[in-house]
């Protein structure tokens, strides 16, 4: 009986210690499905959830990661085409993982780098692409919003500045 209690205690301590490390690392290590990792953990989950939506071509849900005021106007299929240089129907997202999540010193801007394995269906070609997603928030208490629409929008020259 004493051995069982000791074993359970050690197991509990190890699990607790591991989850503590997983939290401090920002969700780098497997968090057993728990919402650990603080801001960096939240960003990782957002980025992975976004890519899952893209993988299953749920563009309405994928647009939902943007700020509410621009959400309705975000054209996700067009942005995907610009991001992967291939039309959504010709793209099979096979696998994806976060390389790192980074937050600026002010805690209001963030970037998440992802490694995405895609199959270009028309050409029967498997490629690996690295994608950087940018996020921002108004204050540290606000939720993170994606800036995909901002980052991928066609640049138009600023007429008030020299080129």
């Amino acid at each position: 009986m004493k051995k069982v209690v000791t074993a359970l205690l050690v197991l509990g301590l190890l699990t607790g210690g591991y989850l503590g490390v997983a939290h401090v690392s920002g969700g780098v290590f497997w968090t057993m499905g728990l919402a650990l990792g603080g801001d960096r953990g939240a960003l990782r989950r957002l980025a992975l959830s976004f890519l899952e939506d893209i993988q299953f071509k749920d563009f309405v849900s994928a647009a939902g990661y943007h700020a509410p005021d621009i959400r309705d106007g975000v054209d996700i299929p067009f942005l995907i085409q610009r991001l992967f240089t291939v039309r959504p129907e010709a793209l099979d997202i096979m696998d994806y993982e976060v390389v790192f999540a980074d937050i600026d010193s002010g805690g209001l801007r963030a970037r998440v780098k992802l490694r995405v394995k895609v199959k270009l269906l028309m050409r029967e070609l498997i490629e690996e692409q690295e994608v950087m997603l940018y996020f921002e928030r108004e204050s540290v208490d606000d939720p993170w919003y994606m800036k995909l629409e901002d980052s991928l929008r066609q640049l138009s020259p600023d007429s008030t500045k020299q080129h």
Binding site: S25, V28, V98, V99, F100, I126, E130
Partner: protein, 245 residues
């Protein structure tokens, strides 16, 4: 319980207690692993991606950990071993007891090292598989270290022999010259290096279309290498030696 098994249990517990008794030494041994991992993260973090060179450094470090942990462990207590042999201690049990404890130590080291790298930069490929490859490399390094320790006459000589074990791991690798330029001899020698097989696991599991049979084969070869080295170490201990202390 067979005699060999009973002896190895008793010796492993004794060896574990000796290691745990030297807390400062144990801390240094364990701390070097995340330190090397952190150094790797600093270097490869600057380009924000992993490369085959990083995999090679990790595999080489794992072999290094094993070698350094083990290279003095037999020679330093050779006098005790020879005396206990007079009372029926079997060399096989003695080697197994060392392997058990040093394998556990190596496992902790590789977890700490890869954890430190992944903390900053996620590596391609499944982490458990890569940890298994690093553990295999560490175990092979432990075997090489124990072998050196079994044949060395002094601790100093055993320590001096470690670079002679590690340098070939670098020389006979794709890092020195591209593998398509290898002569047959170099190609054969490369296959005798534990780092090569651990590296293959990393390389294959990170590929766009991994060939899992090569991953499995590499792990099997690593395991076979470890078994062979431990066997040779045991045989090396059969020679009785007069120890002057």
């Amino acid at each position: 319980m067979s005699t060999t098994r009973r002896q190895s249990h008793i010796l492993a517990f004794r060896y574990r207690d000796c290691l745990l008794g030297d807390k400062g030494g144990l801390f240094l041994v364990l701390a070097q692993a995340p330190f090397i991992g952190w150094l790797c993260a600093v270097v490869w973090g600057s380009i924000e991606q992993d490369t085959p060179a990083l995999y090679f450094v990790l595999c080489l470090s794992a072999v290094w950990f094993g070698c350094v942990n083990a290279c003095r462990e037999i020679v330093k207590e050779r006098a005790i071993f020879e005396r206990e042999r007079l009372f029926g201690l079997r060399p096989g049990a003695y080697v197994v007891s060392k392997v058990w404890v040093l394998a556990a130590l190596g496992a902790v080291q590789v977890v700490l090292m890869q954890g430190a790298v992944e903390w900053h930069l996620q590596l391609r490929g499944p982490m458990p598989l890569e940890l298994l490859a690093l553990f295999g490399a560490s175990l092979a390094g432990t075997g090489l270290g124990l072998l050196v320790s079994a044949v060395a006459t002094t601790q100093e000589r055993a320590v001096f022999a470690v670079p002679l074990l590690l340098l070939p791991q670098i020389l006979f690798s794709e890092l020195a010259i591209p593998d398509n330029l290898y002569s047959d001899v170099v190609a054969a020698l490369e296959k005798a290096m534990p780092v090569h097989w651990a590296f293959r696991v990393f390389e294959e599991s990170a590929a766009l279309e991994p060939r899992w049979h090569i991953v499995v084969l590499s792990l099997v070869v690593l395991a076979a290498m470890c078994t062979l080295i431990f066997g040779v170490t045991t045989v090396a201990l059969f020679n009785r030696r007069e120890v002057v202390t």
